[in-house]
């Protein structure tokens, strides 16, 4: 029976893998790397249902593990790390400041071709692709590297009280605003514009840090700091409850209670997941066809993008809240909906990290040589830009990332349910609605990557 089970999973997983390989994901932020999505050779409905079935099958497999002690042992496994951290912090801060100065300086005064401008390459390739990947693969270094946080150290603080009812909502709005800006403006093509945007963001952030205090601002309101902090929770290296560095199995920190505290933080997790989808959604032909009548009817194109961004976010959040309500019923529990929402949101971060990796690994590798060259000679404008040409099997790495992200998410939610409910069947039943939501998220994302890519319509 075991071998049959294994074969079933193997076949489902290979099928998804093969399917995803056909629709290679392309990264945004990047007309830099001209990667285009290829069309599928099988019907879309089959592609989507295979993806959904793989998630469902993983859940069924996870439900075979019913030994509480075994689950707890896996999640508690870890070893404390020690070492001279102080000099590393200073070095990290210095590196962050140098990078910041390079982005501003070369953004305004460097070469104007995007593939040779260090500001563009550093922000999109080095930071948003490369550093973000190390954040969920190794650990969060952004809290040290963050140049604005370092600058805020030496600024005075008015220490006004941060309105507690605002919570993480400013960072939710900030994240959606940044995603909108990244999609509709040529931030990856025009170094001057990028440097201006970075400068504007720095002014807002530093003002916030001065008014409300550095710790409060970066803990609550800054969207970028929060993105990296959340991705960092997927990583094997992180800080334990006692504040000391600790090595764990990747993703296991996500089952910790109170990791996400309050509906504002749940909203941020969902926003992070939605951002990945929106990025690709706006370049699908279906989006163009659906919105053309709206634009023809007189809806300003510049209003269209934020409206779709907000509406899609509301849909993703609504679906998640619906799942929470329905989970209360299937698990027959008296725990409050807010509590369930907080416990089962962190696993979604593993899915978001998996999609990020699938989108950006190729992008990073292709442009890494260009980044290296620009670092060596930031002011010259070489005629030919070196790029890495990934081998044919490379598509498989991204697919594996998507699958691993889902497996980790399902496993972590399984463990959180076991921690929360006394009856094991109750724990399994509590997951039905969340698995349905994961299937919905997966199928949406797969649908997006399987569509041909068209230029942003109406702009």
């Amino acid at each position: 029976m075991t071998s049959r089970r294994r074969r079933a999973t193997a076949v489902t997983l290979t099928a998804v893998g093969w399917l995803l390989a056909m629709g290679t994901a392309s990264a945004h932020g990047g007309s830099l790397a001209a990667g285009s999505r290829e069309s599928l050779t099988i019907p879309t409905w089959l592609f989507l249902s295979t993806g959904g079935a793989a998630v469902g099958a993983s859940f069924l497999l996870a439900s075979f593990v019913t030994d509480r002690v075994f689950i707890e042992r896996i999640h508690d496994w870890g070893t404390p790390l020690s070492g001279g951290v102080r000099p590393a912090v200073w070095l990290g801060r210095a590196v962050g400041l140098v990078g910041f100065a390079a982005v501003i300086g070369l953004g305004f005064f460097g070469p104007t071709t995007p593939q040779t401008n260090l500001a563009i390459l550093l922000v999109w390739v080095g930071w948003w692709a490369g550093l973000a990947m190390t954040t969920y693969l190794l650990g969060n270094t952004w809290r040290v590297l963050n140049p604005l946080s370092t600058i805020a150290l030496v600024l005075p603080s008015l220490d006004r009280d941060y309105p507690t009812q605002l919570g993480a909502w400013p960072s939710v709005v900030g994240l959606l605003a940044l995603v909108w800006l990244e999609v509709v403006s040529p931030l990856a093509d025009e170094p001057r514009l990028l440097a201006t945007a970075v400068l504007g963001y720095s002014v807002v952030t530093l003002t916030g840090a001065v008014v409300f205090g550095r710790e409060t601002w970066f803990d609550e309101a800054d969207p970028v700091e929060r993105v990296f902090r959340y991705y960092g929770r997927v990583a094997p290296i992180g800080r334990g409850a006692d504040g000391r560095l600790r090595l764990r199995l990747p993703g296991m920190d996500l089952s910790t209670p109170r990791l996400v505290d309050g509906r504002d933080e749940v909203a941020f997790v969902v926003a992070l997941l939605w951002a990945t989808t929106y990025d690709g959604l706006v370049t699908t032909p279906a989006f163009r066809d659906l919105t053309t009548p709206l634009v023809d009817a007189g809806l300003p194109a510049h209003l269209l993008y934020p409206v779709v961004l907000a509406a899609g976010f509301a849909l993703f959040l609504g679906v998640y809240r619906l799942a929470v309500r329905s989970s209360r019923r299937t698990a027959e529990t008296y725990l409050s909906p807010a509590e369930l929402a907080e416990r089962f949101a962190p696993p979604l971060l593993a899915i978001a990290a998996g999609y990020h990796f699938a989108h950006y690994l190729g992008y990073f590798l292709v442009l890494a040589p260009a980044l290296g060259l620009a670092m060596l000679s930031p002011l010259s404008d070489p005629g030919a830009v070196p790029v890495y040409d990934p081998p044919g099997w490379f598509g498989g790495v991204g697919i594996a990332a998507v699958i691993v992200g889902h497996l980790v998410a399902i496993w972590v939610a399984h463990a959180a349910a076991y921690d929360l409910f006394p009856a094991r069947l109750q724990a399994i039943r509590s997951q039905y609605p969340f698995i349905a939501v994961m299937v919905f998220y997966t199928m949406t994302s797969l649908w997006v990557v399987s569509r041909p890519e068209v230029p942003l319509p109406h702009l």
């Binding site: 295979t50 439900s63 509480r68 008296y334």
Partner: protein
């Protein structure tokens, strides 16, 4: 597992834990909860109730595993057939 928020509607009858006041929808779940979260405080009757609830749970889980396996095999063969035909 002690500081949770609960939401019990007025007309519902819940089984409450006498150690931490956590409400449950079924008596067996309360017995399991007591055994898992307050193992040192139980009297003989509660220990007995936990054992019975645990045995019952084991057999229910066995049944669930069979059904889950059935579902897995079904997914596998459905996809196999569809891929053979499409």
């Amino acid at each position: 597992m002690t500081d949770h928020d609960y939401d019990v509607a007025g007309d519902e009858s819940a089984f409450e834990c006498r150690y931490c006041d956590r409400p449950f929808a079924h008596e067996e779940w309360l017995a399991l909860h007591k055994g898992l979260d307050h193992p040192a405080e139980l009297d003989d009757e509660e220990v007995q109730a936990f054992r019975e609830a645990h045995d019952e749970e084991e057999s229910a889980l066995g049944e669930f595993r069979l059904r889950a396996l059935g579902a897995l095999v079904l997914i596998y063969f459905c996809l196999l057939m569809i891929y053979a035909l499409v």
